[in-house]
């Protein structure tokens, strides 16, 4: 029981410092789980991270996998709850604040000021992912380029390029 509570508290704190999402908080998660708490070793941490990457969905769910490793189902529930709840409550309050401020002349332009940063960081995330995939040689970069053009210039479903990428990977990278 004490362990579950510790998991909940640890991930709640991580949740509140996770500006930028899962990848931003990964070093701190490593420090907490491996170095401070000693819940797992380095190799396990890396393996679990890879495991979480294999599933679709928000990569913040890496927390769920870590929690599961530390204390099975209860650990998974506590880690997921801890990681999601505090930041979700903050987002809820922020939405409420904005609703109350609606009509203020400066609100729309101020919010618009965050737009270039959001798009810039999205672009950066894509570039970092592209760089990570280049460890498999040149072919992934060709897939990256083709997929970029496909998604940018057409409005067909990106499922086609994801499926195509998977098939090419199976045929040529195996």
């Amino acid at each position: 029981m004490a362990l579950l509570l510790q998991i909940l508290v640890t991930f709640s704190i991580l949740s509140l410092v996770a500006v930028g999402g899962a990848n931003a908080v990964l070093p701190e998660m490593h420090r907490q789980l491996v170095e401070l708490r000693g819940w797992m070793d380095d190799a396990t941490f890396s393996q679990l991270y890879a495991l979480a990457q294999a599933a679709p969905g928000p990569n913040i769910l890496v927390a769920s996998v870590m929690g599961w490793r530390v204390a099975a189902w209860g650990g998974m529930a506590m880690a997921t709850l801890g990681m999601l709840l505090p930041s979700a409550i903050l987002a809820w309050c922020m939405a409420g604040l904005l609703h109350r401020l609606r009509g203020a002349a400066w609100l729309k332009p101020a919010q618009a000021g965050l737009v270039p940063i959001a798009v810039g960081l999205l672009l950066a995330a894509g570039l970092v992912m592209a760089e990570a995939s280049s460890q498999f040689g040149l072919l992934p970069l060709v897939i990256v380029a083709a997929s970029t053009l496909f998604v940018w210039r057409t409005s067909w479903s990106p499922l086609w390029v994801l499926a195509g990428g998977g098939v090419l990977g199976l045929l040529l990278l195996g």
Binding site: V19, L51, P58, L123
Partner: protein, 196 residues
Amino acid sequence: MPAAPDSSPPATVTPSRPDLFLGYVKIGLFGFGGVAAWARRVIVEERRWLTEREYAEVLGLGQVLPGPNVGNAAVMIGRRFHGLPGALLATAGIYCAPLIILIALCLLYDRYGRLPEVRPVMAGIAAAAAGMVIGTACKMAGKLKLAPEAVLLLLVATFCAAWLRLSLPLIVLALAPLSITASLWRAGLILRKATS
């Protein structure tokens, strides 16, 4: 002064509660590597819940708050349409399918000590997902018709995060005040304040 008009303001639709949930299930389920790209695809292009600009603004807020930006956006978008039930439905939607898949992977991992050899397939999908994220950013930047200084700030944010690998809180802390100031100046609000 009226706000700069969008080139083709598309009519948006208000999703029903089941629509909201199912839309977010799709975002979670298909979001390999880049949920943000799928979220924009479903919310702006396929279902037209928000305009390009409205979505970018919610995402921007989601970015400066702690936690996953798309998760934060789900709370805010859910609340906007259906209050607390909406926020809960959108949040449950985005996480439920990936969690079920993760649990299955954990069980496989527990039983066999490792995952079946899917590395080449995942590497190919990851490369395509990277392109999807880059393509989505390009598409948004094109459609949002950003002012020159906004484009510059966009590129600075990209450079700081992708090349310098500065931590995101630091980037947000440094660039958000600059960018907001630029945007207020562009809207004429800062000068107006100075003269009145």
